[in-house]
């Protein structure tokens, strides 16, 4: 068939589809008085036309035009419904805890490594005063010693709403960014995630041990008791998600590396979303509750309750009956 005949026979349908696609792309439809009822049928016809035009090597300008029409139709017809996955209640109520439990081995390993490392380093810093200087300089050690000084540290003076708001913003920017980076850098064979895990264990353990040695255990632990339930757990979950990415690359099993990484990334996404939300909660607690001057017993028991709630939530939420 010659081009002219082909075009004479198809032109009306191509132009009609183009008009319909214009309307549909603007989010208009039958409600706006545009007749779009038959566009999927027209689209399929245009797909046929495209295949014919290409096969017969008709003008490349025409092939390009039809390819464009078919592509636009394809995008409209086969687009994913947005926002289903993204419902907050579903993520927090089931997707996130389920995703965490699906990775329970990795999460458990992260917790064991992190806390044993932190505990060991804490004991080391508690026994000898010099250990902490091997990773921190004198100025920063003096700074946090001053913060948690049992007599006149900043933690003993309390602070105003201004500082709370500033610290809230800072914790969100800083901590959630660290979690995202920990996750993403896991793609480098897990190295980034492991480094972040080790560094966090190192600083937490050494500071806690050192402060306990200096007699500041009470202001320190009453400060971190509540928000640590969310913050440490979320950081470890982000680390586990990052290690899942790295592991998929190192040991893809029966899959190609590419498809293993894709599956791992898709599975880690609810974990990262949940961890980010946990860190926002942690930022709120750390900014507005943790610095309050309240009886240590109260602060420690609130902390204990939050730890228990986090553990219960992650282990039970989203289980189907009889699971």
């Amino acid at each position: 068939m010659k081009l002219a005949a082909f075009e004479a026979q198809g032109r009306a349908r191509w132009d009609r589809l183009a008009v319909q696609l214009d309307a549909l792309e603007l989010g208009q439809g039958a409600a706006d008085g545009v007749d779009v009822a038959d566009w999927p049928a027209l689209y399929r016809q245009v797909c046929n036309d495209l295949a014919l035009a290409r096969d017969r090597q008709l003008s490349s300008a025409l092939v390009e035009e039809l390819n464009q029409l078919a592509l636009r139709g394809h995008q409209l017809l086969y687009q994913a419904r947005a926002g289903q996955w993204w419902s907050l209640g579903r993520v927090l109520g089931s997707e996130f805890p389920r995703a965490v439990r699906r990775e329970w081995k990795l999460v458990l390993v992260c917790h064991l490594v992190f806390y044993s490392l932190a505990l060991g380093l804490g004991a080391l810093a508690y026994r000898s005063p010099d250990v902490i200087y091997s990773v921190m300089d004198e100025a920063s050690v003096r700074q946090f010693e001053g913060m948690y000084d049992p007599e006149q540290g900043t933690m003993r003076k309390g602070r105003g709403a201004e500082d709370d708001a500033q610290m809230f913003g800072f914790y969100i920017w800083n901590n959630v960014s660290i979690a995202f980076r920990t996750f993403a850098s896991g793609l480098a064979f897990g190295v980034g995630a492991i480094a972040s895990l080790v560094w966090n264990a190192l600083s937490l353990g050494l500071v806690a041990g050192h402060l306990t040695r200096e007699g500041s255990a009470e202001p320190f632990f009453t400060f971190i008791a509540a928000h640590s339930a969310f913050e440490l757990t979320a950081m470890l979950l982000a680390g586990a998600a990052g290690m899942r990415l790295g592991l998929a690359l190192v040991a893809p099993g029966a899959h190609t590396r590419l498809s293993a990484v894709r599956a791992a990334a898709a599975q880690s996404l609810p974990i990262i979303a949940g961890a980010a939300l946990m860190l926002v909660v942690a930022a709120g607690i750390e900014a507005f509750w943790s610095p309050r001057l309240l009886p240590p017993a109260l602060k420690l028991s609130v902390g204990g309750v939050l730890w228990a709630l986090v553990a219960l939530w992650l282990s039970l939420a989203g289980r189907a009956r009889g699971d």
Binding site: K2, E65, L71, Y78, A82, A161, A165, F180, R262
Partner: protein
């Protein structure tokens, strides 16, 4: 062969051709986005700190930084049909590998994994990945299953113009032409109006056995009209 086209097979059994965008336009789009983010940040700074650097203002500013750095690309890509402002200016767009519009999961993944593309420094991993992959995908694109493609220009006005005068009325070629030769003649007729008339004459003079004699250009256009099946 030389074009970078990513073919997607649709359920209708046709191959759609997606023209993927290479490192240069993508880098340019990224640079423009960084610039826009920088301007937005300094605007937020002036606005928030106009009443002095209070703790509230600093807190709000840091939250704005957080949202702008991590969610600017995600929100624009999902809500603005795959285009951040930088991509819109350059004329590229992000789509799923099957050509459908990008959704939340893929956009979050590809943009967060930009961190991995940065490693070990200055986006080395991302650039290497783009240069190695036939569809110019960086690590984030590979993991999220996305592509960056050129936005189609308005369909070009590349249709062989209707015969302008008597000399260009459809004429059958003197020799039988192969399919490839027919395409070349048609392509010439489509493009001739875009060339300078000297250059068009020069090209038309090449297939001398076909044009036979004077005014090779008009002759070629006439043959193209015949090949296209135009009525005289």
């Amino acid at each position: 062969m030389i074009d970078t086209i990513h073919a997607v097979q649709t359920p209708e059994g046709v191959d759609l051709a997606l023209p993927v965008a290479g490192p240069a336009p993508r880098g340019l789009a990224y640079g423009l986005d960084l610039l826009i983010q920088g301007v937005a940040l300094s605007a937020a700074q002036t606005l928030l700190f106009s009443a002095g650097q209070t703790g509230f203002a600093i807190g709000l500013y840091l939250i704005a930084v957080f949202l702008l750095v991590w969610f600017y690309p995600v929100l624009f890509e999902v809500l603005s049909r795959g285009q951040t402002p930088g991509k819109r200016l350059v004329g590229v767009r992000v789509v799923h590998e099957n050509g459908t519009p990008i959704g939340w999961s893929a956009s979050v993944l590809r943009n967060f994994l930009l961190v991995a593309d940065f490693l070990p420094l200055l986006y080395l991993a991302g650039v290497v990945s783009m240069c190695v992959d036939p569809s110019f995908r960086r690590l984030g694109d590979l993991a999220a299953g996305t592509l960056v493609v050129h936005v189609a220009r308005e369909p070009r006005a590349l249709r062989a113009a209707a015969p302008a005068d008597e000399r260009e009325r459809p004429v059958a070629p003197a020799l039988p032409l192969t399919l490839e030769e027919q395409r070349a003649v048609i392509a010439f007729a489509e493009r001739a109006p875009l060339l300078s008339s000297e250059r068009a004459d020069e090209i038309a003079a090449i297939p001398s056995s076909l044009t036979q004699g004077a005014e090779p250009r008009a002759r070629l256009v006439a043959i193209a009209a015949w090949l296209l099946g135009r009525s005289a």
